[in-house]
Symmetry: C2
Subunit: 228 residues, 2 copies
C-alpha cells in the first residue's frame, strides 16, 4: 500500500518534470528568466515584490500569481504597471496547495513571454508541496519570516534545501520577538549549507536594494549566457 | 482532463470520510474528545498547547503530533508529561502536507485512547489541504497569527469556513504591525459569519485561560452527552 503510493507520486513527479522541461524550453526561446517565489502564508512574498518590481531598470518584469482563490495579490501589484496573470488552483473543493508545471504551462499563453525579461511566479503559500514541483524555473527564492520561529528549516527541509536564496523577512520585528537569528542560520546551514541569504524588511525597506540587485544580476547573467 | 482530476480527488475524499467515521466510532467508544488543531507554519500551535496542557484539571490529555519530518514539537511537549505520539508524513520525497484519516488511524494503537479524555491532533502547518481531510474530530480549531496579514480568510476560505474556533495569536505584536484587526474580523465574518474567535498571545499569556476553558468545556459537553 505504502509502496504503491510512493510509486504513484513518483509517476506524478516524473510527468511534472517533463512538462517543466517544456516550460523551460519556452522560457529559453523567449529569453525569460523565471523565479519561483515561495513561502508560508503571510511571510511577505507580495510585499517584497511590490518593493522591487518598479525599480528594475530596463528589465521588463511580469508576474504569475498563484492563489487558491481570488486575485488579492494580483490587484495589489496592478498599480505597479507590470503585467500580472492570475492562476487560481481552486477547482471546486479546497483547491491545490501548490503550482505545478502544467498549471504554469496553461497560463503561458496569457503571460506574453515575448514582452518580458523576468517572470516571477508567486507560488501558493505553503512550505511543503511547492518544493516538490519544478515549474521550469531558473531559480527558487523562498521567504522565511522571523515570526515563524527558528525551527522551520528542520521541519520543512525540502523547501529550504532546494532554494537558491532565502529572504529572511520582517527583521524589523526581531527586537519584539523571542527569536534567535543565529539559531535559525544554524538550522538553515544544517539542511542547506551556505545557501545565500539576505536579512530584509518589506516594511522598512531594509535589505530590499540587495534583493533587487540579486534579481537584476540573475537576469543579466541569463542574458549574457544566451548571447554567448 | 480537469474533470477526471476532480473525480479522482472526490474519490480520495470519499475514502477519507469512510475512515474518518471509523476513527470517530473508536473515539466515541473510548470516550475521547478530539480536536484537530491547524494553522500556517509558525503560527503558534505548539506554544498554545504548551500553555494549556498542564492546566486542564482532571482531564487527561494526549497529543498526536503531525509533522513532515522530525519530532521537534513532540520533544517540546514531552516536558508536560502528557502522552505524545509522533506521526511523520515523509515517506522519502517531500512529504505529505496534511494529515488524513488513514494516517491518524495508523497511529490509534500507539495513542492509548483508553487512558485519555482529550486528544489534540496538531496537524501539519498548512492552510490548504488539512482543511480538506476530516480525521474523525469533534472540533476544528485554527490558529491565525496577526503577523500573517488580514487577507488570509479570503485567500484560504475552506480552512476558515470549516473551523469551529479561531485563535487569533501573537496579539502582543499588534502595536508593531500595520495590521487592521477590524479588517481581519470583517474578512473572517465574510467567509464564516459569527465563528467563535479569541484574541490570544502564547507569549504573554493573554487569552490563554479562555482557550483552556474552551477545551475543558468541550470535553465536559461530550462527557455529558455520552452519559445521557
Amino acid at each position: 500500500m505504502h509502496r504503491t503510493k510512493v510509486r504513484v507520486v513518483e509517476g506524478v513527479l516524473d510527468a511534472n518534470d517533463t512538462i517543466a522541461r517544456a516550460n523551460r524550453a519556452d522560457f529559453d526561446r523567449a529569453g525569460v528568466t523565471v523565479v519561483n517565489l515561495m513561502s508560508a502564508p503571510g511571510a511577505g512574498k507580495t510585499t517584497l515584490l511590490e518593493r522591487v518590481l518598479g525599480d528594475l531598470g530596463d528589465i521588463r518584469a511580469g508576474v504569475l500569481e498563484g492563489d487558491v482563490q481570488g486575485s488579492l495579490d494580483a490587484d495589489r501589484l496592478a498599480s505597479l504597471h507590470v503585467p500580472v496573470t492570475q492562476l487560481n488552483t481552486d477547482p471546486g473543493f479546497g483547491g491545490e496547495c501548490h503550482l505545478d508545471a502544467n498549471m504554469v504551462r496553461s497560463a503561458l499563453g496569457d503571460i506574453g513571454l515575448d514582452a518580458i525579461d523576468l517572470l516571477v511566479v508567486e507560488n501558493v503559500g505553503n512550505l511543503v508541496c511547492p518544493a516538490e514541483f519544478r515549474i521550469g524555473e531558473d531559480a527558487r527564492v523562498m521567504v522565511s519570516s522571523v515570526t515563524e520561529g527558528e525551527d522551520k528549516p528542520l521541519k520543512y527541509p525540502l523547501m529550504f534545501r532546494t532554494c537558491d536564496l532565502v529572504l529572511v523577512n520582517k527583521v524589523d520585528l526581531l527586537e519584539h520577538l523571542d527569536y534567535d537569528l543565529d539559531l535559525f542560520m544554524h538550522h538553515l546551514d544544517a539542511v542547506h549549507p551556505g545557501v545565500p541569504r539576505m536579512l530584509v524588511s518589506a516594511r522598512t525597506g531594509e535589505g530590499v536594494a540587495q534583493w533587487r540587485d540579486w534579481l537584476v544580476e540573475h537576469v543579466e547573467v541569463a542574458r549574457a549566457g544566451a548571447a554567448a
